[in-house]
Structures are given as C-alpha cells and as structure tokens.
Amino acid sequence: MFRKILIANRGEIAVRIINTAREMGIKTVTVYSDFDEYSLYTKLSDESYHIGESPASKSYLMADKIIETAKISGAEAIHPGYGFLSERSFFAKLCSDNGIEFIGPDHNAIELLGSKTDAKTLAINNKVPVVPGSGKPLTDISEIRKIAKEVGYPVLIKASAGGGGKGMRIVRSENEIEEALRIARSEAKSSFGDDSIFVEKYIDVPRHIEFQILADKHGNVIHLGERECSMQRRHQKIIEETPSVIVNEELRNEMGECAKRLVKASGYSNAGTVEFIVDRNNKFYFLEVNTRLQVEHPITEIRTGLDLVREQLKIAWGEKLDLEQEDIEFRGSVIECRICAEDSENNFIPSTGKITNINKVLGSGMREDTGIEQGDTVSVFYDPMIAKLISYGKDRLSAINRMKRALSQYKIDGIKTNISFLLDLLESPEFIDGNYHTQFIESKFLERLKAKDRPDELTSRALALAAALRAENKKPRQSINGTSEYSHWASKRTENLR
C-alpha cells in the first residue's frame, strides 16, 4: 500500500480522507492557502505545505504547485477530493506524467465522461437510456415535429447555440409547437445568429437519483445502490438519502446494471457516480458521470458498511475488488443534511465570521463530517458548507426523527446557518412522504416558508425571560456569586421547586 499520499483539497473532505489514511497506516500530506494555515485538516495531517494565497485560483487550483509539493514531500499518490482539480483530466495526466498515482480514474476516462455529448453517445451505445430527442441540431420544421411526436409531449425545444434559457421553450402539446418553434427560432436567430434547434423530451418535476460505482483496474465493476438527491436549491443538493422511496429492488438492479455498463465501457477505475434523472413514471435517463468521490458518499458508506476512501486507495494501489455485486448488503435508511453558513431567512446570503461556540450531542446513529472547530473562521473564499450530519435509522422515519433530534441539539454561534431551514424541510409533508423532486424547493417550498410560525406561548415566555436575564447580567457591574468562569455575566443558583 502507499506509504504517503497528498490530499489536494481542504476542509471536511480532507479530514475525511486523512482519517481513513491514518487508519490504514498511510501518512498524509496536506497543502494550504494563506487562509487555511492552521485549519483543522492541516493539524490532523502529518505534513503541511503552503501553496499560495487564499483564493482557490491561487492555491488549490495550482496544479503545478501541488505536483511539486507531492515530489518534495515524497507523496506517492494524490487524492483530489471533490471540486477543485478532482475532475480535471489534465491534472490526472500531470500526475501520471510525473510518476504520481492519481486516486481516481485514468485521465482518458475523465475526459470522455466529462464531455456531455461523448458521454451521451457512450450511453446510447451501451443501451443506457438517455433523454430522447433529436440528438443533433435541426432546421427542418417537419423533422422537428416528427421527433417531437416520437418522443411524446411535453418536449423542450432549445437553440443549438443557446444557453442561459434563451431560445428555450417547453411545448406541452402538438398544437402549440408551430408557434413555439417560430418564437424560439426567431430568438435564436437574433441572439446567436443560428436558428437551428434541438428537440428533446421535457422531463417535468424530475428526480435526481445517482448510483455509486466502484471499479478496479482489472475490469471488475460493482454498484453500491442509489442516492436520492432531489432536494436541491439552485442545483445545489441540500438533503440526500438512501434508499430512494421510489426505487424498488427491480429498478435498483436495472439502473445499477446500466451504471455499471456505462462505467465499464468508459475504461473507468476507482469510485464514481452515475447520475440519472427519473420522471414521474419512474422512467430513468442518464444525466452524467461524476468521476470522483461525492459530497454525499457517507450515506452509501453507512448503508453498505463500507469505507469508500479505503476502497479508493486499494483500487488506486492496483488491488482487485474483494467484493462482488452479491456481497453488497443494504441496511436501513440513511439521510445526510448539509449544514451551510448562510442566512436562510435572508435569501440564503452566505454568512462569514468567527465561530465563537459549538455544542453538539450526536450520539447513537449519528455521524458528523466536518472541517471546522470552535474558534475557526468561515471565510468568503470557499464553499459555505461547514459540516455534514448523517443519520442512520432502521427505517426511514427513524432516520428522519434522529436527524431532527441531532439538528435541534446542534448549536453553532458567531455565524448564521441553515439548520432551521433543514428542519423545515424535514418536517414538510412532501419530504416525509418522500414525494419531492428537484424543483420542489423553488417551486413550492420557499413560498410556503414566508408565512413563518410564531413561537408558542410557553416558548415566548421562556425567550422573554432569557432575554431579560441576559440583559440583567450584561449590565456593567461586578458579578455576584458567579459560577461561570468564562463569562463576565453573573450566574445565579436557586433553590428551585425542591
């Protein structure tokens, strides 16, 4: 096994990788920007090297600097984590050109799967369903009508040169198409100077369901089941769970086999994720492949009992998978919530500052992956996600209730977080029923949130008393018989109702 690896990442995922490496007796090298000089992940790693300024473009995206650090420190492999350089084929190639093992797929596989059109072609060639449509730009109206009829309404028509929604139209029935095409082509012509048009099936209220894949360098591929990732805002996943309430054994096998076929055909090795969208009839369509570890990988780890980082390291080292598909056993229900430093009540504006206090309980059935400690600062430079809470339950309701319990016990002060928003989501009837899709939050949920509940009368009285006691104790006077050593407040004891 590797003796030493470099982790080209930061925050919670760096901590996550360090932990497994340490458990396997592998030394870890971390790199840091100015901001991260003493961030938790550096403290937990064996060695750390400064690689640049705080903005990622001047540090964590500096491929050459990272390769150089790997060489100086004697690291034999690089784990890219997620984000940053993790899906950049040139970086994987740079590693291999420098004799360093990239802990991820070969750069050719990254490139192939990184191209949406190449990946789609590969899917079609391997009998993996894709969203049906023209596949190529068309100008002939009758052909467009024909394909629209074939794939079935509603369809989406979009300018082939388009982007950002311009020249894009949903057509719900055949008698709307003529008019829609006219407008779309005219928009396309004026915006892009090209009036050719794609047409494909429009998937209304889709779910985002993805499959975790493990592939070794010897051609063995297994899947570890699905993750339901439809709870999104602005295309950012917020809550993920496994299993998905809509995926039964048969669908799981079918989708899993598709995912395996696709990955195998791409010459892939290491961990990867095949993303699908699923329509309301549970028909699924290939979306894309994420050629790296996902943020939400812990829910799969808990449901399968496996350590995905350990599997990644073993695969990168050249070991054969010691698991076959039939060895994978699923247990219980697992949910992940992403805790972000943002003000959910104020348009999710990122919240920065020093974390003055953290209290949490966790306990039975909970896992937390985090990259911060009390006293740390949340900056504008990086992702606002500060922790992931993961709950296990024998059944889905137990997992939900456990997550609610742990979130309500999680206190973090000095910044604002989305914890209250997460609780609202978990308590929504749609989530409880498992009846949600990628547009749920923006199309329905945010509106509903604006009518905020008032605290009940008891809570109001307690809040009022707490505020009064705080004000009373904040007064600039000597503290009397204080028991708190941390604070300039006074503290009182009472005989209570004994």
């Binding site: 348009n347 920065t352 009022a464 505020a467 009064a468 009373e472 708190s484 009472t494």
Partner: protein, 168 residues
C-alpha cells in the same frame, strides 16, 4: 424589581417581564419560578417551572439579539423600563427609526450598481449585486426610500460592514 419589555420576531404587544430577585418572575402577569446558568457568552440554560430551555445567543452584527432554541432562531428585542423611559423622553422611539445606511453583509465584490444619488427606490428593488462565495447576492431596499449617496462602484471590493449606500 427589574422590569423588561421583550418583543419576539417583532410581535406586538411586547411581553413584560418582572424579575423580583427571588428566582421568581412575572411574565405578562404569570408567575414562574426559575433558575439558570450562563455557560458562556453564547450559551445559557434556563429552568422555568422545571422545564428546561437550552438557549444560544448570537448578537454580533445583527440588529436584534438572536436566540436559538432547538435549532430554531428567534429575533428578540429587549428593553429595560429605563430604556423605554429614555426613548419616551427623547420623543424618538427606536422602533420607528428608519435604516439610514446600508452596509455590506459580507466581504465580496460589487458586480452591479443599480441606483444613483437622488434616486427614489421602492421596497424590494435591487440596489446592488454583491458577489461572494461564488454566489451573486442581491441587496434590496427594505422600505421605500431615496438614495442620498452610493459609496461603491462596479467591481469595488468591499469588506464586511463596509458602508455601501446612504439613504435620506
């Protein structure tokens, strides 16, 4: 006996709390026994008639004291009877005081300036777009108002709490 007036999430009428110093309080006329312990500047446990409330406080950079309880956050405004008296005497209720300055909620870069000095803007109108943490954040007018001065221009880099706009 100390008296405080508290408003939660801007609710009116305010809740009146009397602390009588014997670990007994009168809250809107209802008597409660209590004990409490201040764990640190952010955390306090209150036991009111044997019921536990494990609060945390967040006050920095916010207009109101924010009190967290069981994952929920409440905006709490607390004034002593003295505060209220001073307000009355100065004839200027703090509550009615309009916001005169708009400050940056976080460090970032101004991507867009939509208003100019002297302009009238309506509640909800986007004044500025601030980019931070790779996200665009719209800064909107929270009341109908008139712009006195815009302190930043497009692509200005701003710090947290930096003055962006002055209102009339």
């Amino acid at each position: 006996m100390k008296k405080y007036f508290i408003s939660i999430d801007c609710a009116e009428p305010k809740i009146e709390v009397n602390l009588n110093g014997l670990n007994s309080s009168l809250i809107d006329g209802i008597e409660s026994k209590y004990s409490y312990k201040i764990i640190n500047d952010n955390v306090m446990v209150l036991r009111m008639d044997n019921l536990n409330f494990y609060f945390d406080f967040n006050s920095e950079g916010n207009e109101y004291l924010q009190i967290g309880l069981n994952g929920r956050v409440y905006d709490v405004d607390c004034k002593s009877d003295l505060d209220v008296l001073i307000e009355k005497m100065s004839g200027n209720k703090t509550d009615g005081k309009a916001v005169k300055e708009i400050k940056s909620p976080m460090p970032g870069i101004i991507k867009k300036v939509n208003v100019a000095s002297g302009q009238d803007v309506a509640k909800g109108e986007v004044l500025l777009v601030l980019e931070a943490m790779k996200m665009e954040n719209e800064i909107k007018a929270i009341v109908d108002c008139k712009i006195k001065k815009v302190n930043v221009e497009q692509m200005s880099s701003v710090e947290k709490n930096e003055l962006l706009i002055i209102l009339e």
